[in-house]
């Protein structure tokens, strides 16, 4: 059987759901957007105009859950990378958006650049479980004067053929984004149909929605763009100081986003997501790589199953300041339980320092963690096909199985995972090879990928169109 894991019992899920409903209907949620408040008031929420708080009754949640699609495909520019949600296996998001990157040549920690993002996308294109691209760094070399979120979105679409997920911050960015997607796919209808671009929507904990971003997404919803609500309450500061209540608040925030977008445009695809965490009580900062983070986001992944919604959860994360043991330990421990519980997409490949530092080698290391977790999740196949009693009878007591045809067949099959980075040499071989370590091997792999050609490039004429749209966007959106 495939391995499973439960973070919450059925009763506990019911209890958290009820708590979240109580938070929504009695405490309420603050919306900085007038449009959002109007949508909510028109659909039965009690809105206080002064405080901008909407009390959302249970009926609205029930209604929203009935119109939100339970399944859809996150399309990709290359249809081979289309990702069905919910998924039979766990996919991964390229983590973002870091301010800093380790320079691949010098090893220096410096501000991240567009070239770092392009290199990351080229590597991510090769990962078998890499599903969703986040523009993973904030590019310091993009002109700040007319910065707009269309830019990293287009850079991603040009340099990756996988599904792209970004944030947009201003309603004026929407027409340029849709024009770009139409240039790639051929028509606006294809944009609605294929869904090669989705957006991440961070609420501001506790229980607040940004104004401009909210307006932007109300606009995007008209084009059937999937929305990933992504609350990040930190238990003990921006969330209450127990995992249980932090989960209830995060769940309430996601439900409030679900309600808003379903009321505005029924049928909007919602990826039920969370990147909740805990507070570093020593400094007040947000912690990503803690055991509690895994418990919180794992439980919220189960709430997604409870609501029958596809989901993304923060998982393969670390607070380490450099590549090394802490990064690997936190990421591995944070990823496996989420994989076992059946999360559709785990967010967090390639960064450390609470998603503030990109390390190209870490992308390859995280890939190996993901593959190992998948092997454990796939479990033990106890079926007739794997019943090798006849081999046992043939070999009998003593002897060996090395020459059996089944061994020949299985030694390179999925039955046995073969790591690329973890060392399985003898000590002598390992010493002979110059004491290779995980990050050194990952570095060789990065070099190899970066030296190779770009896979699945966009046709030049489409790139030309995107560049032209970008020029128009830069002009229109300059601050």
């Amino acid at each position: 059987m495939k391995l499973g894991l439960n973070f919450l019992s059925e009763d506990e899920k019911q209890r958290i759901h009820k708590d979240s409903i109580k938070i929504l209907s009695e405490v309420g949620v603050k919306f900085m957007s007038d449009k959002a408040l109007k949508v909510l008031a028109d659909n039965g929420a009690k809105v206080d105009k002064d405080s901008r708080v909407a009390l959302i009754p249970e009926e609205m949640v029930t209604q929203a859950l009935s119109t939100a699609p339970n399944a859809f495909v996150l399309g990709a520019r290359n249809p081979e990378f289309d990702f069905q949600m919910p998924s039979s296996y766990t996919g991964y998001t390229l983590d973002g958006a870091a301010t800093f990157a380790i320079d691949f040549e010098t090893g220096e920690r410096r501000n991240a650049l567009t070239s770092d993002m392009i290199a990351s996308l080229k590597i991510f294109e090769e990962l078998p479980l890499g599903t969703v691209v986040w523009p993973n760094v904030h590019c310091d070399d993009m002109d700040q004067g007319n910065y707009n979120e269309v830019r990293p979105s287009f850079v991603s679409l040009i340099n990756s053929s996988k599904h792209i997920q970004n944030e947009l911050h201003r309603p004026e960015e929407v027409p340029f984004m849709i024009e770009g997607l139409s240039a790639i796919l051929g028509s606006e209808d294809a944009v609605k149909e294929r869904k090669i671009f989705s957006v991440c929507y961070c609420t501001i904990p506790p229980l607040t929605h940004d104004g401009e971003m909210c307006d932007t997404y109300l606009e995007l919803a008209k084009f059937h763009v999937p929305i990933l609500p992504y609350p990040m309450p930190a238990a003990g500061s921006t969330g209450p100081a127990s995992l249980y209540s932090d989960i209830a608040v995060a769940n309430a925030e996601s439900l409030s986003a679900l309600v808003l977008f379903q009321m505005a445009v029924p049928g909007t695809p919602i990826i039920y997501g969370h990147a909740a965490g805990i507070t570093n009580f020593r400094l007040g900062t947000f912690i990503e790589g803690a055991p509690e983070t895994t418990l919180i986001n794992g439980a919220l992944g189960e709430m997604a199953h409870f609501y029958n919604l596809p989901n993304t959860q923060g998982g393969c994360l670390s607070d380490a300041k450099v590549a090394g043991p802490q990064a690997i330990m936190e990421k591995a421990l944070g990823t496996l339980p989420l994989v076992l519980s059946g999360v559709d997409v785990i967010n967090g490949i390639g960064e450390v320092d609470a998603s503030q530092l990109l390390i190209l080698e870490q992308i390859i290391v995280d890939n190996e963690i993901a593959l190992m977790c998948k092997r454990i999740k796939d479990g033990i196949n106890v079926s007739d096909a794997k019943d090798y009693y006849n081999d046992v009878a043939q070999v009998g007591a003593g002897g060996h199985f090395l020459m059996q045809p089944s061994t020949m067949k299985e030694c390179r099959s999925d039955e046995f995972f073969q790591p690329e980075l973890c060392d399985r040499n003898t000590f002598e071989q390992w010493a002979e090879l110059g004491n290779p370590n995980i990050y050194g091997k990952a570095r060789e792999k990065v070099k190899e990928i970066l030296a190779g050609p770009q896979k699945n490039p966009l046709p030049d004429d489409v790139i030309g169109k995107l560049e032209e749209i970008q020029r128009k966007a830069d002009e229109a959106l300059s601050h």
């Binding site: 904030h138 501001i204 009580f281 400094l283 503030q356």
Partner: protein, 209 residues
């Protein structure tokens, strides 16, 4: 009963006892500046030191600050008659376009605990509002916070407004994506990675007597 008891009560977060302890000292005729400097502010200096060394957690530090503030309220009416004065006025806020304020609030509470007068402009604060508040209050310091890389340029605008107008106000910045290099680039007077560092920074930029 002694000033040491006040000092201890703050370090042990005994917020319900502090009012009586301070009142007792006032009634006993202890010098107000002695209660303030060696009792209340002295205790917060110790709390700040322990926090900086990682010995105290944020909720404990905040409880100490709240305890200190309750004690301060007792002597506030008497302060005007004494020769003590506040350490300086700090304008603080999260910059335009940014609604994230937990770090900013933390810095504000710690600065208040350290004896500064705080004027908190809240979140999404226009550069002009920092300027106006600094001018109206003759503030010694403006402290700005940003969590989003996209809102950092608002810091540069505010620094420019205040420096161009020739105000003597010092400008400091902080927030997850902010660095010393960025502070240097926009000609801010200082940067701190965390709240205790911000207090140290404020002290170094506004020397007491």
């Amino acid at each position: 009963m002694s000033v040491q008891d006040i000092f201890n009560a703050i370090n042990e977060f005994r917020d319900t006892e502090i009012v009586n302890l301070v009142q007792a000292e006032v009634d006993a005729g202890t010098d107000i500046s002695e209660i303030l400097d060696n009792g209340l502010i002295g205790a917060m200096d110790e709390v700040g030191k322990k926090f900086g060394e990682g010995l105290l957690f944020v909720p404990e530090m905040l409880m100490a600050a709240q305890t200190m503030k309750a004690g301060l309220e007792v002597i506030r009416p008497l302060l005007a008659d004494s020769d003590t004065k506040p350490r300086g006025t700090v304008i603080i806020g999260t910059v335009k376009g940014d609604l994230h304020d937990i770090g900013k609030n933390l810095v504000a509470m710690m600065l208040e605990g350290a004896g500064f007068t705080i004027i908190d402009l809240g979140v999404d604060v226009e550069p002009q509002a920092f300027f106006d508040a600094a001018k109206e209050n003759s503030a010694e310091l403006v402290a700005m916070s940003a969590l989003l890389t996209t809102t950092m340029p608002a810091m540069e605008e505010a620094v420019k407004l205040i420096k161009d107008a020739g105000l003597p106000t010092k400008m400091v910045i902080g927030g997850a994506p902010v660095t010393q290099a960025y502070a240097d680039k926009i000609s801010a007077d200082g940067y701190s990675a965390d709240a205790p560092g911000a207090v140290e920074l404020a002290r170094s930029l506004i020397p007491g007597d």
